[in-house]
C-alpha cells in the first residue's frame, strides 16, 4: 500500500442484515491497511458496534434512513466515521456500564467498548443530518 490515505465510503439502509456486509468490507480493509490480527479484531468490533447503534438507536430501524460509513487509512492510522440520519441522543450523559447499579443491565456497553479499544473517539450531533461518530486506531508496528 502506498503512503497516501486510502478512502472508501459505504452507504447502507437501516437493516441489521447489512451489518455483515459492513463487517466483511471492514475485514478486507484492515487486511489492506496491514493491521495485525488484534488491531483488525478491535476495528471490526468497533465498526460493527457503531453501525448497529446507528441503525437501532440513531435511525430507529427506519429502513429508508441510511447509515454512511467512511473509512480513511494509511499504514499508521485506521479511521472510521459513521453518520446516521437520526435525531441524536444525550451522549454527554451516557451511563457508565461498569457502575454497580448498571452492571446487570442487558444493554449500554457498545460505546463503552469502542471507547476502550480505540485510540480516538468522538460523537457529534449535526443538526438536520444526524449523529456522526468518529473513531480511529493507531497502527503501531511491533
Amino acid at each position: 500500500m502506498n503512503s497516501e490515505d486510502s478512502v472508501i465510503e459505504l452507504k447502507i439502509q437501516s437493516s441489521l442484515e447489512y451489518t455483515d456486509v459492513v463487517e466483511s468490507l471492514t475485514n478486507n480493509l484492515t487486511v489492506l491497511a496491514g493491521c495485525d490480527p488484534d488491531q483488525a479484531y478491535f476495528i471490526e468490533m468497533a465498526v460493527r458496534e457503531i453501525v448497529v447503534n446507528a441503525i437501532r438507536h440513531g435511525n430507529q430501524m427506519d429502513f429508508d434512513k441510511t447509515v454512511q460509513v467512511h473509512y480513511r487509512f494509511n499504514s499508521e492510522r485506521f479511521a472510521v466515521e459513521v453518520l446516521d440520519q437520526g435525531n441524536g441522543f444525550d451522549f454527554d450523559h451516557l451511563p457508565d456500564p461498569c457502575n454497580p447499579e448498571n452492571l446487570m443491565k442487558s444493554s449500554g456497553r457498545g460505546i463503552f467498548l469502542v471507547r476502550s479499544f480505540m485510540d480516538d473517539f468522538s460523537l457529534n450531533y449535526i443538526p438536520h443530518q444526524g449523529t456522526e461518530v468518529k473513531f480511529a486506531k493507531k497502527l503501531s508496528r511491533s
Binding site: 460493527r48 442487558s106 456497553r109 467498548l113
Partner: protein, 114 residues
C-alpha cells in the same frame, strides 16, 4: 457465521456447548432459547461452554447478563466455561468477571454446582 447451541447433561449440570458468534440477532436468540428451554425443563444448573465462541458483541454480552439474571431469579445458577482470551478480555473490561463464575476446567465447573 451462524451460532449453534448443543445441550448435554453431566451429573446434575446442563452444559450448553455454544459455537460461532454471539451477536445481535441470531446469535443472541439461540442463546436465549437454549437457556429458556432448560429452565422450561426445570434444569437449574446451567454451564455455558464458550470455548468455540469466536466473537461476542455488546448485545451478546447483554444476553449473557440477561440469562444470568433470569436463571438466578428462578433459583438456578448459570456459570461460564472455557472463555477465549478475547471474550475473557471483554468480560474483564466490562467488570462482568466480578459477576460470573468462570471455569477453565469442566470437571471443576461441574463440581462447583454441588
Amino acid at each position: 457465521m451462524s451460532m449453534t447451541a448443543t445441550t448435554r447433561k453431566v451429573e446434575a449440570v446442563s452444559i450448553v456447548d455454544l459455537s460461532g458468534r454471539i451477536t445481535i440477532g441470531e446469535g443472541t436468540v439461540v442463546l436465549k432459547e437454549a437457556v429458556r428451554n432448560l429452565l422450561g425443563k426445570h434444569e437449574m444448573n446451567i454451564l455455558l461452554n464458550l470455548g468455540d465462541v469466536s466473537y461476542i458483541d455488546s448485545s451478546g454480552i447483554g444476553e449473557l447478563v440477561s440469562s444470568f439474571t433470569t436463571v438466578g431469579k428462578q433459583g438456578g445458577k448459570l456459570k461460564l466455561l472455557s472463555l477465549t482470551k478475547k471474550v475473557h478480555d471483554l468480560l474483564s473490561i466490562t467488570k462482568l468477571l466480578t459477576v460470573f463464575e468462570v471455569f477453565d476446567d469442566e470437571v471443576k465447573a461441574i463440581r462447583s454446582f454441588v
